[in-house]
Symmetry: C2
Subunit: 245 residues, 2 copies
């Protein structure tokens, strides 16, 4: 059973999220159906990150053990043909060692959260950007973000359903900047808690709007209390950009 590493891109808008479930179409389910159509076997496709409903990916990674060896480009093109017209595509496939694991071998994950601080509704970027109808103070957001970086107990920024054993994570990067007429928040860590990025962005947005002071973000962190978190940002703006091994 040769193992293949798959680099994936998808628009998560019409899916219930990465994980296969009975409640609706999932990215994982769509991939497993396409793999079945390709090789005739029901196989598990394991992802690096379980993106939520509505969350996108430009660089998700998954692995699958195929029943026999194929050329990597054949794996990519054939599964893509079965996925189409669903907005999910394998950008790259390669055979990897049996001990490669998309989730457990990952040593870094990078997310981009896109915001637009404008009154007019979105058109070209609808579903991929969170619109906030007032101008954001991104200097204050970036300053607050720096107070959240490092190793901390992120209980405040963790969904109540989060299944991680420990709330302690190391946030390596949380950068806020203007780019292409939008506000971009880049977040990087070895791994994240459930809804951690959206919780962090929601809190930073409160700072950007001037409802919270910069130090309030740090106080929220130190409260180690989910109730201290700002409103969680919607999934639309979030995209898993890169997984490192």
């Amino acid at each position: 059973m040769p193992r293949y590493k798959l680099l994936l891109e998808y628009d998560g808008g019409d899916f219930v999220g990465w994980q296969r479930t009975d409640t609706g179409p999932s990215i994982q389910g769509a991939l497993e159906e396409a793999v079945f159509a390709f090789c005739g076997e029901k196989l598990d496709v394991t992802g690096a990150g379980r993106t939520d409903s509505g969350v996108h990916a430009a660089g998700q990674v998954a692995h699958v053990d195929l029943p026999k060896a194929y050329r990597a480009d054949t794996v990519r093109d054939a599964i893509n043909a079965h996925l189409y017209p669903k907005p999910i595509a394998i950008l790259h496939a390669e055979e990897v060692a049996d001990d490669f694991h998309a989730r457990f071998s990952a040593i870094g994950r990078t997310y981009l959260y896109r915001l637009a601080d404008r009154r007019p509704p979105l058109t070209l970027t609808r579903g991929q950007v969170w619109r906030i109808p007032q101008s954001l103070d991104i200097d204050a957001m970036h300053e607050a973000a720096q107070l959240l970086c490092g190793e901390h107990d992120f209980t405040t920024f963790r969904d109540a359903q989060c299944q991680a054993k420990s709330p302690i994570k190391t946030l390596d990067v949380l950068d806020v900047s203007r780019a292409a007429g939008e506000v971009h928040v880049w977040a990087q860590a070895r791994s994240f808690l459930h809804r951690q990025v959206r919780s962090l962005v929601g809190t930073l947005a409160e700072v950007g709007r001037g409802k919270w002071q910069v130090r309030d973000a740090r106080r929220a962190l130190e409260a180690r209390d989910r109730a201290a978190c700002g409103p969680v940002a919607p999934p639309d703006g979030l995209c898993l950009m890169r997984v490192e091994y």
Copy 2:
């Protein structure tokens, strides 16, 4: 009747184009309906460029004469509310002098054409990028593009339906570069012939694929013959970025 200048953004994917017609929903028609809902009068909305079906805009400009003076922000927000959820938005509105004309006062138009040279189908950028499933030689494309700049008879790159009196135009900029994992073609001129940008891009793509030599693009121009044009690029990748006055 105070005149308002409107800066517009839209996703042209589900429209028959800018121009009001009986054949389906148009951008102009949608705007005129929203203006009617706002002020109760059937008024003409005049655009700077008549974008084709499927062509987008991030900076189209239009003007409309409203029956009375309103605050510019009210014009923007009220018409946007009537446009929603159609993917058309007024980014900015301002009152202008009566002699301002969105089309005839314009002295420059800038288009961006986005291509992706990749085998995997598009997901996040579907409908906004032209995918070409092989790698493009962008140096050759840019070199060919330079041979098409300047004042020329652009009969080769003009749609058979074009209503312009003269096929002579001055193409100020035609730049090809890689950006954000895509191939971007920027085109700038005082005005363009019908389908000129898509005709130019289609021809440059032939050069990028290696089917045409750089000099073939110049020969096509010099032929002054529509039949000498490469295949016209699809509308998806084209976006009207800016109109100058």
